[in-house]
């Protein structure tokens, strides 16, 4: 039998000045046939499509790397896993095994962390929404409560006084670090003295112990310098606290917000070329921290709540081509089985998307649509992709952050999530939803029952 030539769709490309040229034709032409040496085709065969894949190896690498980078610059470093970024138990457990505390922003997340076996004293409780019941639970558990506003502070004081409790608290501080927008809706403002007022109030309460200061200056921060300013402002607050009240803080929590390798829509250069490295963030933060009037064992611990930068590149979404189309303008459109309902982040990111099989070198500018019967279901307006056939797969990269917490169930079920373990085995870490998952929650009034 004679061997036939490898097939590729016939393609014609009009030469247009100023458009992407094909030489070195985009990373999208390069096939991503496997994830951590496990073949994409095998994963789909076993777990279906679409399919979220997490890499245990990448998660641990990211965390260990970040710890090393920060510890070589500051003596006491403690990471806290940001649950909202990805709170799948398997993902959280990897970070906890690597020594991270839990950083939660709701009672739901708090309970989730507790159920996973995290002690209350190892949980940082953030966010503007903490019910009285949640606060009571957290206080009794000795959790680290980061107060967001005065109403919360008074609620805690009231709780402690009426039930004779003692609470470990920190305050969240917002400040001008020269970056827009200003996140002044969270915490107490530094510049107008509100933060200092909150600190004085706490210090006057015997039932409260001020353990730390917290800030979180923004998200996807493209400048490391902002962190230096933030750290130095918190250092100056810490210095004032020491001077006025003669107490040493246990920790300074610098929050998160480091950018990941994803390029934002509207950003001209790819993120890899312009976002600061972890080293630059660490340099900036430690240089701000060292403005504290303390040395050696007197220095507070540095807590980091980095989420996105530790998890984004450990997550993949495998999707399948449902159809190829020509739009009325002659433009190519590809419809895939993953929509914006499970990939929210495609509203603001230009995710890296590659074919999962060798597909030839000719690429064509295409629009990538999800399967939802809705016009907003656009995964990418314009992407250079080689010819991909119905049934073939694409791999969407850097989806580890937020996709699996902000996804929603809409006209279809959410898919399986697997984790490729360090030893190369594959574990299912979240089962795809079945119809019952939805129906169990629904109630049908008797008079509406169809005969």
């Amino acid at each position: 039998m004679s061997t036939k030539k490898r097939y590729e769709r016939p393609i014609i490309t009009k030469y247009q000045s100023g458009l992407m040229n094909k030489f070195g034709s985009g990373p999208s032409a390069k096939a991503k046939t496997s994830i951590d040496e496990v073949a994409v085709s095998k994963l789909v065969e076993e777990y279906g499509s679409p399919l979220f894949v997490m890499s245990e190896r990448q998660l641990r690498n990211n965390q260990q790397n970040a710890i090393r980078i920060f510890r070589t610059r500051y003596p006491k470093v403690q990471f806290a896993w940001s649950y909202k970024t990805n709170y799948l138990n398997a993902v959280c457990s990897v970070f906890h095994q690597e020594g991270s505390l839990a950083e939660v922003v709701s009672e739901f997340e708090y309970d989730k962390a507790k159920l996973l076996g995290i002690k209350g004293s190892n949980i940082i409780f953030n966010g503007p929404d903490k019910s009285r019941a949640a606060l009571q639970k957290a206080i009794k558990d000795n959790a680290k409560i980061h107060i967001d506003h005065f109403d919360e502070l008074y609620e805690i004081i009231d709780l402690c006084n009426s039930e004779n409790l003692k609470a470990n608290v920190a305050i969240r501080v917002n400040m001008d670090v020269g970056v827009y927008p200003l996140w002044d809706r969270f915490g107490f403002n530094y510049e107008n003295g509100e933060a200092w007022q909150a600190i004085k109030r706490i210090m006057s309460e015997k039932s409260l112990k001020l353990t730390g200061l917290h800030t979180h200056i923004g998200t996807y921060m493209m400048t490391a310098e902002a962190y230096r300013i933030a750290a130095s402002k918190l250092a100056s607050l810490a210095n004032s606290i020491k001077r006025e009240f003669d107490i040493k803080l246990d920790y300074i929590d610098m929050g998160g917000g480091f950018a990941s390798n994803n390029t934002l829509i509207g950003q001209y250069l790819p993120a890899e070329q312009i976002i600061p490295s972890m080293e630059q963030y660490a340099d900036a933060i430690s240089s701000g921290m060292f403005e504290m009037n303390a040395t050696g064992s007197d220095l507070p611990a540095l807590i980091l709540e980095t989420g996105r930068a530790l998890v984004d590149n450990a997550g993949y979404l495998i999707t399948t081509v449902l159809a190829n189309k020509r739009l009325s303008t002659g433009r190519r459109a590809i419809i895939i089985d993953a929509g914006v309902n499970i990939l929210f982040t495609s509203f603001w990111y230009k995710h890296k998307i590659s074919p999962a099989q060798e597909s030839g070198v000719h690429v064509e500018d295409s629009s990538l649509y999800g399967p939802l019967c809705m016009n907003i279901d656009l995964i990418r307006e314009s992407i250079l992709l080689p010819a991909v056939k119905k049934g073939e797969h694409l791999v969407i990269e850097d989806v580890g952050a937020y996709a699996m917490t902000q996804w929603m169930q809409f006209i279809t079920m959410r898919p399986n999530v697997v984790m490729i373990m360090q030893d190369g085995t594959v574990e299912l870490i979240r089962k795809s939803e079945a119809l019952n998952y939805i129906l169990d929650r629904e109630l049908l009034p008797k008079q509406l029952k169809l005969k």
């Binding site: 036939k4 030539k5 490898r6 097939y7 590729e8 769709r9 016939p10 393609i11 014609i12 490309t13 009009k14 030469y15 094909k22 190829n324 020509r326 002659g330 030839g360 000719h362 010819a387 056939k389």
Partner: protein, 84 residues
């Protein structure tokens, strides 16, 4: 059976570079695109072209058909060919 005509003043080179002398537009075609273009030019019918593709390439007939139709619609979109 529908056949297609390519105007005389359209030239394609070995490298798949296509020049529309009438309008001055230029295009590039991949290998298989070039082969199909040349087959159309040598007056092969749609059926013959698809048979030749299926014969030479590792592809099923249905896919070859679909891709051929898409390619033809592109060529028509660019006024590179007309239906006979």
């Amino acid at each position: 059976m529908v056949n297609f005509i390519i105007p005389e003043n359209i030239a394609i080179s070995e490298s798949g570079f296509l020049f529309l002398a009438g309008t001055g537009e230029t295009f590039t075609l991949n290998q298989i695109g070039k082969e199909i273009f040349n087959l159309i030019r040598s007056k092969s019918s749609e059926e013959e072209i698809i048979n030749s593709i299926v014969n030479d390439y590792d592809i099923d007939k249905a896919t070859a058909h679909k891709d051929f139709a898409d390619f033809i619609s592109q060529l028509k979109h660019y006024s590179i060919l007309k239906e006979a």
